[in-house]
Amino acid sequence: MDQTFTIDDEEIDGIPVVSASGEIDVATAPPLRDRLQALSSSGKPTVVVNLLGVTFLDSTALGVLVGALKRCRETGGDLPLVIDEPRILRVFEITGLTGVFSIFGSVKAAVQSVRCT
């Protein structure tokens, strides 16, 4: 299990995609928060957050994502998440956040959903 935390940025069809991998916890969530805030401040209303490489996620990480979602929606955008690991999805389920976020199984599906809105 690779626990090294990394954040990568790319644009797919003009949609910013932030890919995180490793463990997102109280120590590593702040850089993710800063990256999402920077994108929001630069006028990107919608950002896809790819969590396919994430192996652990705690309430601090959830708080960062909820805060980013709020900022996106305030500017008419969204923060679709990409998750395919049941263990990570379960954290969203038990906290009732599956009904709050748009969650997709692949980056392609998430980007397509943004392009269709």
Binding site: E23, V26, A27, G63, I94, G96
Partner: protein, 134 residues
């Protein structure tokens, strides 16, 4: 680590309140759970629960220490955690736990609680090994 009697293992850990050291608390939990025969899913649940237990005591604090006591007996692991600071008043202050932390704890462990013990803010959890096969 202390093995008090056959089947009972006790581990104590003390870490500074520092974001990048909380990983030690969940690593100890995972190691103990693995040794106790917990399955992969139970170990992952316990790792996350211990993380939330620590976060529920730390809040926005950036000083002091967390003391953790792990006890494994039979098919259950109990983890107690308390906060200590040089200032007795702060040690006895129970910060408001994040709602997300409490929801995660509710879902992942059999029992958990928090309160003051010997003048220090503390929290505990108990998780039994499930029959889930992974």
């Amino acid at each position: 680590m202390t093995e008090r009697k056959t089947g009972t293992i006790s581990v104590d850990l003390s870490i500074p309140v520092q974001a990048d050291l909380v990983v030690l608390a969940r690593l100890a939990a995972a190691t103990l759970a693995s040794r106790a025969g917990f399955g992969v899913e139970d170990i992952e649940d316990l790792r996350l629960a211990v993380e939330e237990l620590c976060l529920s005591l730390v809040g926005s604090r950036e000083h002091g220490r967390l003391h953790l006591s792990y006890e494994c007996e039979g098919d259950a692991i109990e983890v107690a955690c308390w906060y200590e600071d040089d200032h007795a008043v702060d040690s006895a202050r129970l910060v408001r736990a994040d709602d997300l932390s409490l929801r995660i704890l509710d879902a992942l462990v059999d029992e958990h609680g928090r309160g003051l013990r010997d003048g220090r803010a503390g929290a505990w959890l108990r998780k039994r090994r499930s029959d889930r096969v992974v």
